[in-house]
Symmetry: C2
Subunit: 240 residues, 2 copies
């Protein structure tokens, strides 16, 4: 079967937004849909490849955009975090753009809108936690080397989506106290949660494009493979 | 195929010991062997069932004995922890009994002795961590709601066996500081480690026989299922 990519332009506050949706073309039944929330750099080829990998698992993957059409950075940009920082300063706006992205996924005609989840990487890992905190109608979320700081709005409790957090223990963005703090927050929120911590693993462990040599950061093959496997089991559990 | 159980009596310091080994009878090739280290009560039917479940996965499972033939307790015993406490007071003796148990497994003629691992529950979870700390020749260990206190001897570093710790976050035997302490110990020991923490889950989450109603203790279906699945993936990774 062939996996198809399709550009999806959609509206929302600060939009239009532009993402890429991927699916196996020949499947006729409605499939679960999985939102892919990009890292600090915004929507890019690496995210499209994750969407394709999800399509290969039998889902529809949607690498979404929370910055707005054309707003992207690279590691070489003067300020690679410019768009991320603007949203980190306005978590309610971020939430509303995530809602627009999820609505775009749910509106796609090959999706079973009752069966959706969200995964995210780095900043996107924080985004999917915000989706869980905000009571979004998804069955579960997976954060890969996300960020754990709470938004300035109250969570919708109990936190209904199941939560899987895949965490590099040496990640300097989330020292042990941040991780145990997230555990406490999710426990108090009544979430069904798991945190998988990987030893000797830093921030960005799934990111093959991360420049090497910075302590506590970098691609880690074992954690990349193990976290993807954990995600697969988690999605299977969600979508049965 | 039929799974066979066989009683194995073996020697060691303070022995003889008596365990139960389980395997699929009709498989003729040598298989990986997995030691099952029992909880506080000692070798019992629940452990034999774990050995059988491992046999169903294509391994040889060996529910071993570190207390000595006939030395068993039940939840109704006057002092259910009597044998455990004696060994907790002599971790070197415990280590040597674990070595005798592993040797019994490796000597079994259906085993590929180059492909072994150990799993353990509760006290047995602590035992398999001691095996990793002691430089035992196993490819990996899995602790299910184990105990994390270090032995009074030095670890063999780097800790060579891969380590998977399946942990109930609400386990009062291991508050967050014990768990982050284990992460630190394993990191310093250079181990390839993972800790999977399960929210709203207490000690004994795999133990269907644990009496209900004690805060922080008890069977938890989701964590039982997820940790077994994590173990399956882990063993697959070890034995390829």
């Amino acid at each position: 079967m062939a996996i198809v990519r399709q550009t999806l332009v959609y509206d929302g506050p600060g939009g239009p937004f532009e993402g890429v949706i991927a699916y196996e073309d020949e499947v006729q039944t409605l499939r679960p849909g999985v939102l892919v929330v990009p890292n600090v750099l915004g929507q890019k080829e690496a995210d499209n490849q994750k969407a394709e990998a999800l399509a290969a698992l039998g889902y529809v993957g949607f690498a979404c955009d929370v910055y707005g059409q054309g707003k992207r950075t690279t590691r070489q940009s003067e300020d690679a975090a410019v768009y991320m920082n603007a949203l980190k300063a306005d978590r309610a706006l971020l939430r509303d753009r995530l809602a627009a992205s999820l609505a775009a996924l749910k509106g796609f005609d090959r999706i079973d809108p009752a069966k959706t989840a969200a995964i995210g990487f780095c900043f996107g890992g924080g985004c999917v936690l915000d989706m869980a905190r905000s009571g979004f109608d998804v069955l579960g979320v997976v954060s890969f080397h996300g960020v754990y700081d709470k938004p300035d709005y109250q969570s919708v409790v109990p936190i209904a989506p199941k939560v899987l957090v895949c965490h590099g223990w040496d990640d300097p963005l989330n020292p042990p106290a941040a991780t145990t703090g997230l555990a406490e927050e999710l426990t108090e929120g009544g979430a069904d949660w798991q945190i998988h911590a990987y030893g000797n693993t830093g921030h960005g462990f799934t990111d093959r494009d991360m420049p090497p040599g910075r302590k506590g950061f970098g691609y880690a093959e074992a954690a990349d493979r193990r976290s993807w496997q954990a995600m697969r089991g988690f999605l299977t559990e969600l979508f049965v």
